[in-house]
Symmetry: C2
Subunit: 321 residues, 2 copies
């Protein structure tokens, strides 16, 4: 079984080439540039691991991994337009350099090219693969819409946030694993468990994301700690704080949300600590990690084959940046 | 062989249902509304005709026709964002009612759902179909990018405009026909000819579009006559006028482009007439229509099967609105 780094490298060797024609350069060059400023390639690695859990990695898994990575990058380009984000991976976003129309159109064509990679697959399960890919793509869009809807609302319940975050983040991680497992010849039973492993891991991943924004080490985090608090973002932490804070704490928290001064982050962090939100978040994360591990155990696969996935789970959950 | 109206009705009967889930309504309801405000369904009709030219219409052709129609509508929603268009089919555009983020995301999910319809196809030629669909989708995006690029340029040659318009308009008409013909079991030879028929017809269609904007009957046209002239749009007519006008005419035309007063349209139309641009446009249209008909004749299919396509070609080219 291959480790994370090996799979990252082997995916990079497959993926690191031009994906688009050269004409019109105004459309395609910004996309090549964006893709070369690579992220961690987590989803392609999950796809390859999903395959390798059941069989040697097939060429089809690389095509699928590329489709998933292109789809993910397309969502980033479009999300950045919607969120009016100036930076992505430390560099100016596509729309801020090349304008919104080109970023919009570029995202569109990147999505089309992800379907080109799906069409390279030789697997007899192409219909099942396309179905899962489409289902996931729709869910990711739904998650983004809910996220935007929530921004306009005063109250969002933990359950609603969980629904949103699963759609926006977890399902693509879960699907990447399942898509790979289909190539690996997994049974329906094993496919379901690997999907559920990914879905629960995705939730734990997001809790860690929300946690780091509040309690991360500023020297490692890379982003401004407290950014979510500053912008009144409804995170796992904030939603739980609003749901559990009582008396004076509740009053203070609501007052903080109306403020926008330099002490806001500090004030909210103090309330988080007083209410034990940090401890709660860590427990919730452990809970979802446990659920994920339970599904991994259920899978009818020898234990040693599961080691890379356990390594990846801990890598995603224990990261400090 | 079925006529245009019969096929429009039979497509409508298949297509006229909910295409998206009900949740989140903020994402999906605007799309249902947009789709119900239907256009002429030209592309689905072409797809069905492409099938019927070779065989009885198969259920697969309806799925493909729906995919093409959804793809076309997705491009309209996104184009309207890029062009900042306030109206489409006489109603406010999706982004002007629901905001740009929802229109952007809605377009995305509409594109994904077009691939859901492709996945319903039972044909053994699914790979060829997906390849052609993707190729066309990329070309349409390239055409839109070129169109935006041209807006920023002073000079565009007729050849460049032709390239742009083929990508933006013709290839989807051509592909709709070819996709249907694949379902009908057409040979590669016939597929190529039906594609070329559609591509040339598409160019003639666009010349008619440009012609109507300048010389259309205001009581029938539905849009403001001279809109392209008013906004200095580089159309077939304007490009040819700029390329052929000489001496005083050339000076007058260039002066008109710098003006923005009420007499602009009138002044440019007078130049068009003096230079015989209207006659030239009609001849050019006839030339492409002839090329299209030549490809139809080449097809190894009995003459009576071709009648609906001839009817459709004349319908598209002779329209006055």
């Amino acid at each position: 079984m291959s480790g994370i780094e090996t799979l990252q490298q082997s995916f990079e060797a497959y993926f690191n080439h031009r994906h688009f024609p050269t004409f019109p350069a105004t459309l395609y060059d910004p996309l090549e540039e964006f893709l070369s400023n690579s992220g961690k390639r987590i989803r392609p690695v999950l796809c390859l691991m999903g395959n390798e859990l059941f069989d040697e990695i097939h060429q089809d898994a690389y095509h699928l991994a590329a489709a998933v990575e292109l789809f993910h990058n397309f969502t980033l380009v479009h999300d950045d337009i919607m969120d009016k984000a100036p930076l992505r991976r430390g560099k100016p976003t596509v729309h801020s350099v090349h304008g919104e129309p080109t970023a919009l159109l570029g995202g569109d064509v990147m999505m089309v090219v992800s379907y080109d990679y799906i069409n390279k697959i030789q697997s007899p399960h192409i219909k099942k693969i396309l179905h899962l890919f489409n289902k996931t793509a729709k869910e990711v869009c739904e998650g983004q819409q809910l996220d935007m809807d929530f921004e306009k609302r005063d109250h969002v319940s933990l359950e609603e946030y969980l629904t949103m975050i699963q759609l926006k983040t977890s399902v693509l991680l879960a699907s990447s694993l399942q898509l790979g497992s289909i190539i690996g010849g997994a049974s329906d039973f094993n496919q379901q468990h690997i999907y559920e492993f990914g879905r629960n891991l995705g939730i734990a991943f997001q809790i860690q994301d929300d946690y780091l924004d509040a309690f991360g080490d500023p020297t490692k985090f890379g982003k401004q700690v407290g950014g979510d608090i500053q912008s009144n973002k409804k995170t796992f932490l904030m939603i739980h704080a609003l749901e559990t804070a009582e008396g004076e704490m509740a009053t203070k928290l609501k007052e903080s949300l109306l403020q926008n001064d330099v002490n806001k982050v500090e004030a909210v962090l103090a309330i988080y600590k007083a209410c034990g939100i940090d401890k709660w978040a860590n427990e919730l994360k452990a809970e979802y990690l446990n659920k994920a591990m339970g599904h991994l155990e259920e899978m009818a696969v020898t234990k040693n084959r599961k080691e890379s996935l356990i390594e990846l789970a801990h890598y995603l959950i224990s990261r400090d940046k």
